[in-house]
Symmetry: C2
Subunit: 127 residues, 2 copies
Amino acid sequence: MERIPILKMGRVLLVSIQVDMHDRLAMSLQDDLTARIVKDQARGVLIDISALDLVDSFIGRMLGNIAGMARILDAETVVVGMQPSVAITLVELGLSLPGIRTALNIERGMDLLRAGAEEAGTLPSVD
Amino acid sequence: MERIPILKMGRVLLVSIQVDMHDRLAMSLQDDLTARIVKDQARGVLIDISALDLVDSFIGRMLGNIAGMARILDAETVVVGMQPSVAITLVELGLSLPGIRTALNIERGMDLLRAGAEEAGTLPSVD
């Protein structure tokens, strides 16, 4: 199982990270996700990290890269489900996750994406 | 990472299985999921297996158990995202996944759950 599944819910893609990330897996996630944003015309990406006990600088950079790539493709990224201990460690390590928006859970993340879409005007119809 | 995260979307719980299941992990998933159905008053469970390259009798039984437990707790279970090759192998192995409803993807699974809830009448308000 060398790929992280990407789930589509309307115009939002959902990624749940459950395994230890390594270089190649992070690369393939970036490839898959950007390809899916284009294919599915997604407007938002939700990344659930509730299974992660630790977010180090590698994961932080990966999340930042994904958010940056998604932004260029006109999709907003929200990281959800961070464990309290992860937030503590991040601050203690001096990692501030620049460029990454967070929300408590999937539902709040969805609200955030929806609010962003409304601010930007009506979504263009593709039918 | 010895737990599979359970994501809540409205009255539906979403589980994405990405790692090799073993006895203890299956047990803890059953425990967590039934506890969450009660706590979140969930009416549906979506289990995404798009990351699985193989569904053997162990996984099949686990999915059946989860569906049975959820049903007793008044929640419908739908398995989504099965790879074509998995469907082929299941039939070749003579495994028919009794008691398990399937849908092509999350969105269709959601539709299925919604249709079931409507058939059963309006959802009781808990506010």
